[in-house]
Amino acid sequence: MQILNRLFGVLSSLRLTVISIAAAFVLVFAGTLAQVHAGLYYVQEQYFQSWMVMWSPASGAYKIPIFPGGHLIGAVLLINLITAHIRRFSWTWSKAGIQLIHFGLIVMLAGGLATDLFSVNSYMRLRKGETKNYSEDAIRMELAVIDETDASIDQVTAIPGEVLSKGGEITHETLPFKIIIRSFFANSKLRNVGQEQGTSLPAASNGIGQRLSITIAEPTTKIDERDVMSAVVEIIPNKGATLGTWLISDAMAERQEFDLESHHWSLQIRPARYYKPYSLTLQTFTHEVYPGTMTPKNFSSKVNIVDPEGKNSRQVEIWMNHPLRHEGDTYYQSGFEPDDSGTVLQVVRNPSYQAPYVSCIIVAIGLIMQFTRHLTGFARRAKPPIVP
């Protein structure tokens, strides 16, 4: 019991608060500087959305934790806040401000953690008149294995990119064949065979891969670029001999095709998709600029939302700072296709998006209460004695 008491004492101590804030400060500072070389996504993953920041030598042979990561610091602060609240809570006016501030912070930290764990961020690209019922991930890729036998419907088996990166053999009950990952590239460059030095060997024995050579590329750190995931896969039917190898890549728009047992199959690496229970159609996209300049004044997209039965449809406009919220998804005007032929909408699914709003209001009230109390005291004491 005494140990528990002491543990409670440590967890709720101001010393732990100060240490955690100091650690958070160091982490944020280091994480900001690290973005110069490592890029935003990598740092976000390694520093802020991790339990420990790891260091590994250039050879990458081992990893050692060197500093607490964002999740760990956040969790410790959260526990510290909650326990301190329990320990020191009292219903007095003089404490109300401080207590509101910290209660608001609890809501914010918990909401932030929930956002990190549960929110999904994707994009929907629509050309004028196009209808889609899915959005695409900005980073994660998938291998789509498509049964195209029936021309009116695609039977898709999607294999996440992370599975491909592990290599080995992929089997699935819907597939009458095995997929063997012969090689995998997180980022790659495709060249015509013989185009440059080091591109003498074709990547695969079938499809466009016979004419292309593949080389490995460093992962990109730029915010406006994306890694080009590629793989060479071998298809071996469950009954029968190998069909050979195919090159599949994010850089190729066309699918790689083959026939097996009177079924027509195709393979494609594409951004991971999230299907929606409704669809969006782009009516118009407008891109206004200030007269005589290229400075954008506004972007806006008019879209039609149609529910699955196709019964209810409504038209909405999405523009800068005015997102559309629908069925738990939020659509933001994010960008546009070259020559304004289409729009790019960012799609966010974040179950805890209201947490910051609630916490902000609570903390602001707390801060104002606290500082008005301070300030009135401060002003009263600061007045010099009046000399008659």
């Binding site: 101001l14 010393r15 608060t17 100060v18 804030i21 100091a22 400060f25 944020v28 500072f29 994480g31 900001t32 500087l33 973005q35 110069v36 935003l40 976000q44 802020f48 914010m108 932030g112 956002t115 929110s119 961020n121 915010i223 200030y290 007269p291 005589g292 300049t293 400075t295 954008p296 004044k297 506004n298 972007f299 800068m320 700072n321 005015h322 997102p323 939020t330 933001y332 994010s334 960012q346 799609v347 966010v348 974040n350 998006y353 910051p356 709003y357 916490s359 902000c360 903390v363 801060l367 104002i368 500082f371 301070h374 300030l375 401060f378 002003a379 004491r381 600061a382 007045k383 010099p384």
Partner: protein
Amino acid sequence: MKRLLPYIFLLASVLWLGLSWVPHTPKQGEFDLGAFSRIPVLVGGRIKPLDTVARNSLLIMRGKQTVYIPDGKTLAATRWLADTLFDGKVADTYPVFAVANQEVLGMFGMPQQDKRYCTFDELRNYLPQIEEQGKASSETDSKERTPFQTAIFNLRNSLVLYQQLKNSVHPEGTVDFAKEINTYAETIFAGTASLKEGATPLEKERMNLLKTSLARYQAQTDSSYMRVVAPLADGQAMDWLTTGDALIRVDSPESIPAPVSAFADMGDAYRAGDNVAFSKVTKEYAGWLSIQHPDWTLRSNYELRFNQMEPFYQSMVLYVGAFLLACCSWLVCPKGLRKTAFLILLLALVVHSFGMFSRMWLQGRPPVTNLYSSAIFVGWGAVVLGIVIERLFRDGIGIACSGLVGFITLIIAHHLGSNGDTLEMMTAVLDSNIWLATHVVVITAGYSAMFLAGFIALAYVLLGLLTNRLTKETAKTLTRMVYGVVCFATLFSFVGTVLGGIWADQSWGRFWGWDPKENGALLIVLWCSLILHARWGGFIRQRGLICMAILGNVITSFSWFGVNMLGVGLHSYGFMDQAFPWLIGFCISQVAIVFCAQLPLTSWKSFAKQGGE
């Protein structure tokens, strides 16, 4: 008499201000450019007076708002612009192209000095090389450019701007524009008539004239820097045209828009050196504009006044004065000098506020819209807080610290403003007055409070170490000031950061994205809460609080400028490369002072005899 002295001083300062606001009247035989410099035109999506166009163009090209010509005279910006628009040959002889790179100067066979102002005539023969090299550097990422590439890139941009200016009213080298457009309009009219059935077709010569004119006006439109032709009364900003565009739409001599004729007459009078005619036509055109567009004329006139008054320069001078007077008040005549310093600081704040609110009115925006205006606002906020502190404590510290912060931030603003128009239009994502007014203003006020706290803490250390004026009482008071101001900084920074998160959630779909600018704001919040919690827990005392407040200066300047220099975000600012050594120097000085503050108290001049904190 002694009691009146502060007010006499104030009066003298007001007189100094008033004198520099008296507009310059032209001497006999000189061109009267008053009405000309007020004429509004459309550049960069904004309607502004020609005076602003002239000043900003010169800032971009040579870094100053005036031109020094070899015979020792100074040329006002509008005079230079008038030459450039109407009489290119004369303008070609002015040294307006700043080249600050020895290699580039060497390329032109000029003496290899650090900086030289070249004329267009001097550069004329090297245009193909500049174009070639400049194009190559424009394809290089701005961070990876060598100094040579940067210099040649900037020179190429200046030359492009200059050429565009020369073609802004009429194609370069035009002699008699009024006559030219009249002939053109008559020919168009005749040409339209000749298309009717049974009419005789236009002679070949006149057909050719039409063809070449149309091509000429199209070329002018393509290379013009500004749109000078204002629409008629019911027009919108969208409807401004270039002269070429306006002429292409003409179908008879009567349909030539009034602004085109006015500019044509202006140019002809200017080239002929006829100052009476020039003055008459500019005034007539100004009158036409004020009837057609009273609102634009009002703003344009106001902006001209604002440009001429240079309120930020004047408040900069006054801030230095207030700072020096406050410092002197600790040595001699404490009461009188402090009062004088306070009055001067108030005057400086009035002028500073006038400048800031003028910009807000001209732009129709909240005070902070870009880095330049953030510097103006940081100083303003710090001075307001400093005045409050001074009213509470009455010891001159508030005056000295806020005067210094006001001066430094206005210097920074001055350098940030050398990239061109500081009242630029907002890109789509920033186009939200509510968020600009709340998030941006609150977070910038947080910077103000951080800097003020940091500078009061600096005063504590410097007074304590170097003088014997820091008594125990004063030390206690200063600490209370720092603590109070840090509380304010916490409030502003936290609320500002959260508002920023909410804006980001509204426009990008995430509350927090670990972007460098966001992290910078978070660092300030974390630092403030660290100071407050460490103080509440008794982990730091007086000196610790002071030192942490000084380090707050480093963190705030990192968050304000440092993150922009990392080159990770979406913006890169030209000024940033030059500012980097200054930022590093400032940070090192702050850390050095914190180190000095660690000396045992017995080595502090103030505490040597008193002993202990």
